[in-house]
């Protein structure tokens, strides 16, 4: 192994000037390739995140359950049935509706399962200064307070019973703020429902990235029942937990539609976008791999004289191939590390980079996804292992000629 160590040490870390330049170019080109994958992946992730955040923060339940039972008559029973099912899939459950108890458990992944009853209806809301139509979501506040995804999306800490929460844009139009009181006119949902008017206290104002969200308001389901003597006529259950989709026993409680089904057009648009960017990633990946195959093939060719000498001196083909494989492993690790860091830097400062380039060309790019950096550890691991395996494989493939050619064939080539 000492000769292998010597060969690698000298050819990689202390190469001659000519080989040094070649080696630097290999590392540089691989790094740029890896960086481009990181940047594209980061842009893809962030774009999806931004789109989802800006469009569907309120509607972002993994699934919505449309109950088959009459909720108004047996809502407590329905919830209890639902929670029994939910409990069996190892998530976090809240108390039954109508109970002050709260039971929170975390599953192994640390995810929280939320099952929140809600009902949407249009209302007319007035302030002393203005009037607006508002989409009102009647919500089980107690359970919604466990839904950290929703709270984060709305930038609020919690919902408070007996008060409403409205979007900042709506508040601005009404010229009201939290602490103020607005007049809400409930219009009939069905025959026999008498229009009612109530003055409601604004507990909080939420900010959301979504324009869609900004016309919404939230009200507690218990407060609704106090005002109207009954639950809303039509209630759905928003579920947020990927594993709930795998549970078949929940089907008996009602029909369930996933987020993808509820947002079909948008979901397919996102999928197309994801497929296109994934294709781009695959193309970049193959360019990197083919580029390295060519580079390695050339590198082995340029070292033919060394190979002739080593074989004539009795060094085995197996070790010569191992030499090139270990070189690839080291070059790969260095290039992937540099490329990933470069990709991180470009992703982090790409808005600045785009602006600078735009200024150089006297053109302002309108693309700005903000400065949020978005790259998961899992993707990083897949990227590193994937590229590393591919480089090693093409290196092995490129070095196959060494063993196919006899020493004499090598020798004749240079004599």
């Amino acid at each position: 192994m000492e000769i292998l160590t010597l060969l690698i040490r000298k050819s990689l870390f202390m190469p001659s000037r000519r080989n040094k330049e070649g080696l630097l170019l290999i590392v540089l080109s691989l790094s740029v390739g890896v960086a481009s994958i990181v940047v594209v992946l980061s842009i893809m992730n962030e774009m999806q995140d931004q789109i989802i955040r800006s469009l569907v923060s309120i509607e972002s339940y993994d699934a919505v359950l449309y109950p088959t039972v009459d909720i108004r008559d047996s809502l407590v029973q329905f919830y209890n049935e639902l929670y029994t099912v939910v409990d069996s899939i190892d998530g976090t459950i809240g108390s039954a509706l109508g109970s002050a108890q709260s039971d929170t458990r975390n599953n192994a992944r640390g995810d929280s399962l939320t099952a929140v009853a809600f009902s949407d209806q249009a209302v007319y809301v007035s302030s002393p200064n203005n009037s607006q139509v508002m989409q009102l979501r009647v919500l089980d506040y107690e359970r919604a307070n466990q839904d950290t995804v929703l709270l984060d999306a709305l930038n609020i800490t919690n919902f408070d019973k007996g008060a409403i929460v409205i979007g900042a844009l709506l508040a601005q139009k009404l010229q009201v703020w939290y602490g103020d009181v607005v007049e809400v006119n409930f219009v009939p949902q069905s025959g026999g429902f008498v229009p009612q008017q109530h003055n409601l206290f604004i507990y909080d104002v939420f900010y959301s990235a979504s324009l869609y969200d900004s016309g919404w308001g939230f009200m507690d389901i218990h407060h609704y029942r106090e005002l109207f003597g009954d639950y809303p006529s039509s209630m759905n259950i928003g579920l947020r937990h990927s594993r709930i989709l795998d549970n078949t026993s929940i089907d008996k409680l009602g029909s369930m539609r996933t987020w993808q089904e509820n947002n079909r057009a948008f979901y397919y648009a996102l999928r197309v976008e994801k497929i296109m960017i994934s294709l781009l990633l695959v193309v970049i990946f193959f360019i990197i791999v083919l580029h390295y195959y060519f580079v390695q093939w050339r590198r082995i060719f340029s070292k033919h004289k060394d190979i002739i000498a080593l074989r004539a001196l009795g060094y085995s083909t197996r070790y010569i191939r191992l030499w090139f494989l270990l070189e690839t492993a080291i070059v790969g690790i260095v290039s992937i590390t540099c490329g990933t860091l470069l990709g991180f830097m470009i992703s982090r400062y790409r808005a600045t980079i785009i602006d600078t380039v735009g200024m150089l060309f006297r053109y302002r790019f309108s693309i700005d996804f903000g400065t949020t950096f978005f790259f998961s550890f899992k993707e990083l691991v897949v990227l590193v292992i994937g590229i590393m395996c591919a480089l090693l494989w093409v290196s092995f493939f490129a070095s196959r000629n060494i063993s196919r050619m006899t020493s004499m064939e090598f020798y004749r080539e240079f004599n």
């Binding site: 000492e2 190469p15 080593l310 004539a312 001196l313 060094y315 020798y411 004599n415």
Partner: protein, 260 residues
């Protein structure tokens, strides 16, 4: 097949070639370069083979050295039949018992002169310190100890070829094969390399098989052959061989001198 020093110990000869043939096919044409050729090289003897370009000198040398296989016939290295061995076993013999000097030096340019010479010993898994000592010793003999830390591109062609000779002999092989070792050198450097090679071989009591165009160098060898039409013709023997009795052959060699 276990190739130990014991079973490689010769019965008086270092290399025996028995009726080997080698042909190359190019398209429809078949060119017979070696035609039932035989040769015996005794231990410690030097053999020079001359011949025109394309006469098959390099093919003969590559088969004799185990770099290539004959189409028919047998090659014995010491008492071991060499030509029928698998490549790994031939590699083992090449690593321990033979040396090779090419027309071009083929030094690894990323390695220093010292490291290049150490390679055969490192292939044999010798310790680095031992390999360094041996390499330095040879560097002193070839007068290049001051260049030990330089890389081949910083040396002249003649110096590189001297290093190549040292590399081929550092592990004290039984047979040294040299394929036109002066082919790329001017006359002065060529003379130096030839003297060095003959002297080192003599000191190590190794056999030398060299192919060359230069008939002047042939006179230095114990046996001289000419290769033509695939067969060898004996062109003379000499009891002289090369060369001085000095322990530092390169610095003090003179050709020819008396040796029986």
């Amino acid at each position: 097949m276990n190739l130990t020093d014991n079973n490689l110990a010769g019965n008086g000869y270092a290399l025996r070639i028995e009726s080997i043939s080698k042909a190359y096919t190019q398209g429809r044409d078949t060119l017979l370069v070696l035609d039932k050729l035989s040769l015996v090289v005794e231990q410690g003897m030097s053999v020079v083979i001359t011949g025109d370009s394309g006469s098959g000198k390099t093919s003969l040398l590559s088969i004799a050295s185990g770099l290539d296989s004959p189409d028919s016939g047998k090659v014995y290295f010491m008492d071991q039949e060499y030509s029928s061995l698998q490549e790994p076993q031939r590699q083992a013999i090449r690593a321990s018992r033979t040396g090779f000097v090419f027309q071009f030096h083929y030094l690894l340019e990323d390695l220093t002169v010292l490291e290049n010479i150490m390679i055969p010993l490192l292939i044999q898994k010798k310790r680095i310190s031992y390999a360094q000592d041996e390499a330095y010793e040879l560097l002193e003999k070839i007068g290049l100890v001051d260049h030990a830390r330089k890389r081949p591109p910083h040396l002249s062609g003649g110096e590189c070829q001297r290093v190549a000779v040292a590399r081929a002999l550092v592990h004290k092989p039984a047979v040294l094969f040299a394929d036109e070792p002066t082919g790329s050198l001017d006359e002065k450097n060529a003379d130096e390399v030839i003297r060095l090679m003959f002297d080192l071989v003599r000191v190590q009591n190794a056999s030398l098989i060299m192919v060359t165009h230069n008939k002047q160098y042939a006179t230095l060898a114990h046996q001289r052959y000419h290769l033509s039409h695939g067969t060898l013709s004996h062109k003379g023997s000499s009891a002289i061989g090369a060369t001085s009795q000095s322990d530092t052959p390169y610095e003090h060699s003179a050709m020819p001198s008396s040796r029986v």
